[in-house]
């Protein structure tokens, strides 16, 4: 996607490779801690899109509260609408659209987290296989780290946009059609 995402992916691949070849200083950490870090980084690769968009929404909502301008091009790009439509609708609604557009990614991400949770509980119940139980619990805690971050940002973004919308009046929210078209309609 962008530079930071590539950096995250490179760090993840590097960490996984170091664990694989069991380089000396990596072996100083216990395997469970290493797996926690690995899973957090791995889930982070997939959470990156969600987190980047949530951060954008929070910043845009803050800017709109201070009545500053938001970058129309970015709004158009993230919400999937054309720039013309974006200039007609109030930016707060565009932010809501962006949050809705993230829904399928959010759904799959929480599904991935739920899988790790179910596996950890399932292997925790089975008797006698202690090393596997520990590894799956470590995987769960790693994914819980990243999922907690995603959940926190999602809640902040949703609450910021909700506050923005409930403070706007009706007329500000209706579509802002340019004056020329309205005059033509009146005359025609």
């Amino acid at each position: 996607m962008n530079f930071w995402w590539f950096l995250l992916t490179v760090i993840f691949i590097l960490w996984a490779f170091l664990l694989w070849i069991q380089l000396g200083w990596v072996a100083l950490i216990s395997p469970e801690v290493a797996v926690i870090i690995l899973t957090a980084l791995g889930f982070g690769i997939f959470a990156f899109r969600l987190l980047a968009n949530y951060v954008f929404v929070i910043n845009a909502a803050d800017a709109l509260k201070e009545n500053q301008e938001v970058d129309k091009q970015k709004l158009a790009q993230k919400s999937g609408k054309t720039e013309e439509e974006v200039s007609q609708i109030h930016p707060a609604l565009i932010l809501e659209l962006i949050l809705t557009a993230l829904e399928p990614y959010r759904y799959t991400f929480y599904f991935g987290f739920m899988l790790t949770l179910i596996l950890a509980v399932a292997f925790g119940i089975l008797p006698g296989i202690n090393p596997i139980k520990d590894i799956f619990e470590a995987i769960f805690w790693g994914s819980a780290l990243t999922t907690f971050l995603v959940w926190a940002f999602e809640n902040f973004a949703t609450s910021a946009v909700a506050e923005l919308i409930e403070n706007l009046s009706e007329e500000e929210l209706s579509p802002n059609v340019p004056q020329q078209e309205q005059n033509q309609q009146n005359q025609g």
């Binding site: 216990s30 520990d134 619990e137 819980a144 907690f148 959940w151 926190a152 609450s159």
Partner: protein, 172 residues
Amino acid sequence: MRRTLVTAVLVTIVGVLVGMGIGGFVTYKGVSSLIKSIPGSPVVVGAQYDKDQNALVLNVFNPGGLPMVVETTSLIFKPKNGQGYALANIPANVTVPGGAIVQLVIKLKAESKGKVQIGDILQGGFTYRYPAIPQTYFTSYPLVVGKPVAQNPTEVLNKAKEEAQKVENQNK
């Protein structure tokens, strides 16, 4: 504003819980791996004289994490009347894994078969080592024939824990 504050409080609470969970898990694994690396003194949880085999049977429990290798066994026979004898350095290469119980069979001399009576003392001992530790340890257990011993290893560990807590409370 209120909405964002409520969100912030909820996020903080859940964050603390997640932190506690991860911290607890990592500490638990660290401590349990430390405990597994401590050698434990073997505890004899069962002892009896087996008439058919003419042998002293000891059940040895290894409470620590490191596996223990029993190298040789020995026996001191002290009858109430008459002269006893001592056997030493009977080779026995038995490995007791951590937390497991192993049976040691120490045979008496063939001439003692049928002559062991209630009240005689059979003191069975064994030397043992741990991997990577160059020291050889020795321990023994005196059994009075007619009073066999059979304990549950978990009971033994619980009693030891109670004793340790009593000592700690006294020292406070």
